[in-house]
């Protein structure tokens, strides 16, 4: 089953649905160690995306993803707008129209590289990168359950001390809670996996 318009719509709807279903949770995670707005930010971004839903899903997958990324950058603000926007833009640029699992892994690498450059962050700094990294790895292991890997990676950020993101101001006090952006990255990955179904 190729990633046709129906599939693209299903993909987008699944992402938006999980973000809005978890918005309050994301905000609460961010409130514990950041500034308590991550759910609101993501919701604002994807509401803007949904306002051009049909125009976006009409485009081929790479362009559609880049348009989602640009929309996030231009409407979210804060760290997450740029970070998630950059991830979508870089991944979209790297994807073919009908990606294989290997293509997806390469796209995830591209997203990781772009986010690292933009955010001057590295793995272990307690950000959404700590989900993208493990997911890229899982994509290369045919036996791996990507959704499970994403969720576990997000959980694992709880043990990290933040070096990037607002939680970094807490220094040692940042150990203990999950990273909000990591959690939303994982939710997006899970949504993509389930919308892609057999292809995932």
């Amino acid at each position: 089953m190729p990633v046709d318009e129906t599939k693209r719509r299903a993909l987008l709807d699944a992402i938006v649905e999980t973000i809005s279903a978890h918005a309050e949770e994301l905000t609460e995670i961010d409130a514990a160690q950041g500034d308590g707005d991550h759910g609101l930010n993501m919701k604002r971004g994807f509401t803007a995306v949904m306002s051009k839903r049909e125009a976006i899903v009409a485009k081929p997958l790479p362009e559609a993803m880049q348009e989602v990324g640009r929309t996030l950058v231009m409407t979210v603000g804060g760290a997450s707008g740029v970070i998630f926007g950059t991830a979508f833009m870089a991944a979209g640029k790297a994807l073919p129209e009908d990606p294989t699992r290997a293509d997806a892994a390469a796209a995830m690498d591209a997203a990781v590289a772009a986010v690292r450059a933009r955010g001057k962050a590295d793995f272990g700094h307690k950000t959404m990168l700590d989900v993208l990294g493990p997911v890229a790895k899982a994509l290369r292991d045919p036996a791996a359950d990507i959704a499970a890997a994403a969720l576990a990676a997000a959980e694992a950020t709880a043990g990290m001390q933040a070096i990037r993101g607002r939680a970094s101001f807490l220094a040692e006090r940042s150990v203990g809670g999950m990273d909000a952006g990591a959690r939303s990255a994982a939710l997006i990955i899970v949504a993509i996996c389930s919308a892609m179904g057999d292809r995932a």
Partner: protein, 332 residues
Amino acid sequence: MKKLINVPESVLAESLDGFAAAHSDLVTLGEERKFVRRARLTPGKVALVSGGGSGHEPLHAGFVGHGMLDAACPGQVFTSPTPDQMMAAAEAVDGGAGILFIVKNYEGDVMNFDMAREMETGRTTEAVLVDDDVAVEVSTFSNGRRGVAGTVVVEKIVGAAAERGDDLAACRALGERVNKATRSMGVALTSCTVPAAGKPTFQLADDEIEIGVGIHGEPGRRRAKHSNADTLAQDMVTAILDDLAGSGSAPGSALLLVNGFGGTPLMELYVMYHAARAQMEARGVTVVRSLVGNYVTSLDMAGCSLTVTALDTEMAALWDATVHTPALRWGI
């Protein structure tokens, strides 16, 4: 949450519309409310553009006007604005001598301004990063210090330099010099409540305070039992002056800004000014310029920050230069 608003979604728009209407002699609101700019621009001068999350009023839009900013980009509450806002503002106020972005050191702000600068084509831009908050320990790993109330001092002094005709490089260098000479520290007695969140960002017991709090209610150095104005002022002045001394900027003469966070009465700010000034004088620092009031707020948070700038003669003269903005005005 009780607030003088209609719905959280429209606070920013209505507040900006009100602001622009109340100060229509000074400012104009850009299309889609992307920025606030001076009503009258001066061609040929370096344009100063700042911006950041809303909720810190009067920062930044309140400082748009003669002798200070040319434009300000208001983000959502406590959320940096987006690159298209910065690009639109730069386009609107470009006078041909380049754009200087004044950016508070938060990852969100820095990344969004970076993106805007990268996407800008054909316009010369520079940026000054403000990171005056001594509450955050600097280490090689960290994001560095937050930009807080010292931003007003940077914007005022660089604004005066741009107004007298300094070029882009000079404005940027001056901005960095002022930033280096400026340190701040804050204390919160209560949390703020973000309209969209609907409840306080954090919780403090009836006898607890957060020392070193950020202007978004971020945690600071430590929670402590509330003591009194003198003790707080001593803690804060000590942290600030030690830090300035440590970086070779120990002031002889200084500007002292006592900044309210939005929920603290002026009466208390003057008590803190009194206490802080005494502490500074005890350490041999002469307070030669003062500013007391709500300038960089955190919505309705109770508490205040102290900012000290080690003033040299040029900086003092530029501080005194004419300024005419909604929130800061003298000489005109």
